[in-house]
């Protein structure tokens, strides 16, 4: 067993804006037009991609030695139904982290109802359950997912609870229909 980072003095510096700049610079060089929208707020980079570019951008971010986004923090969904601008309706949000460079980046893709998002399991194994959760709670399918089924709700549940048009207090139909 060893220790690391004794005391605050030899703590490595936090990710500088220069580091954030590097991520954007590299992505612009490599993908250019594929980046549909780039925003930096609260020192967080957000990049909106088209679904067709998602997997190759992810693979690049993970494999490039200067970026090395090896850790997929989380994948989640947002139903944009009640936002002022709401088409396409669903947004899938990826939070990537580089353990080596201590940097974060957020990727997003937007899809219409029923449209599939390519799975990123091939890039990060941990995407498996995250994608199942989005499929379960938002009803967004993932193309190429080896085991796409509900994860939190019962298998025969109807509807997707985190959609904005799903009522907060729905009648528990599922329980009433259970045979006595």
């Amino acid at each position: 067993m060893g220790v690391t980072g004794e005391g605050p003095e030899d703590r490595e510096p936090r990710a500088e804006p220069a580091g954030e700049g590097l991520v954007l610079q590299r992505l612009r060089e490599q993908f250019g037009d594929a980046l549909r929208d780039v925003r930096v707020s609260h020192h967080e980079i957000t990049i909106l991609l088209g679904v067709q570019d998602l997997v190759r951008v992810c693979r690049y971010l993970k494999d490039d030695a200067d970026l090395a986004f090896d850790f997929l923090s989380s994948v989640t969904g947002v139903d944009r139904l009640r936002l002022p601008e709401n088409s396409p309706r669903f947004e899938v949000v990826y939070h990537l982290y580089s353990i080596q460079f201590k940097r974060r980046v957020r990727l997003k893709v937007r899809v219409h109802e029923g449209e599939a998002v390519p799975s990123v399991i091939g890039v990060w194994e941990s995407a498996n359950w995250h994608e199942r959760e989005i499929f379960d709670l938002f009803g967004v399918p993932f193309e190429g997912h080896p085991d796409l089924r509900r994860i939190l709700m019962p298998d025969d549940w109807e509807g997707h609870p985190l959609r904005k048009d799903y009522p907060v207090e729905a009648s528990p139909k599922w329980w009433e229909e259970e045979p006595a």
Partner: protein, 390 residues
Amino acid sequence: MTVARTMTLNMGPQHPSTHGVLRLVLELDGEVVVRCEPHIGYLHTGIEKGLENKRYQQGIPLTDRLDYLAPLSNNLAYVLAIEKALGIEPPERAQTIRVLLTELTRIKSHLVWLGTHAMDVGAMSVFLYCFREREQILDMYEAVSGQRLMSSYFRVGGLLADLPPGFEGKVQAFLTTFPARVAEYEALLTQNPLWRQRTVGIGTIRAADAVALGVSGPALRACGVAYDVRKTHPYCGYERYQFEVPIGKVGDVYERYIIRIAEMRQSHRIAIQALQRLAPGPINVADPKLIPPPKQLLKTSMEALIHHFKLYSEGFTVPAGEVYQTIESPKGELGVYLVSDGSNRPYRVHYRAPSFVNLQALPRMVEGRLVADVIAVIGSLDIVLGEIDR
């Protein structure tokens, strides 16, 4: 006629060593696990949906119920995310109290883990020792918030209330005795041949696999990856505290035990520093739109009455946008993704629950090993189903 070689065994959801309502479907060849498939969702309570329908301040008690062994860590991640979106920073004293209490929370969470994990593996008495100390920390929770478990003590912009008189003395008394207590736990387990037989070399995972599977917290650090949010992205002023991040090499059940024991010592060290830093001062930001006015002012000040009324009927609004805030919870990287549409309720809140992601690595750790090892490995992952199922 063909004879089936394997047998399917349902472990859980009502099994004491699955730590809540985890269900594992195990395919066994004799006593060897061929395949392990976790089934979750038995504790799904729709907390993320609930948060969308509550005003920001009202959501805090819901977050307690995620990882119910470390309620203050969940509170902290939520209020930090909102504070980040609002662009405010609470005063020094509030930050120090937050650090002090979340480190005590880490100790408390690790104590439940150690007690239950040891009991699963067959060492009954450790549980009794751990719960003795946990009781003292619950008393501190009660002293600050009136609640022993779901304390909801942190608020956007500061704290529910200042520390009660005599609180520092109580913490000091606990911190004085605690190192000897940790030595007691270690005396029971660390060199115990039975404990070592059940844990050394069990549930090993390589660092590369752990990173690919998104494992964080003590389970990742046991494989030798020094990822601790308190060091990499300090919050609440963690950069000003002296502490080490213990890391391991092999990443087996035994090392996860060693790491968490070492973390309890480091938390103790941080708590002592926090206690020394504690200086008098305000505990809330000076913004009447966020913090309710003192009760006695309501009788004399019209303005205070208006602020009070607005705050409890409408709450406050958060500028439209999105933030992702991470903290190091006792279980690992706890992240809150908050989307605001500019109203007084969050548009979307996602909790990146460390237990949810860590549990995904379980099949990798147990397949090819004995059924009895599954129990030891689940214990060593320190999962809480409250935050897995949300």
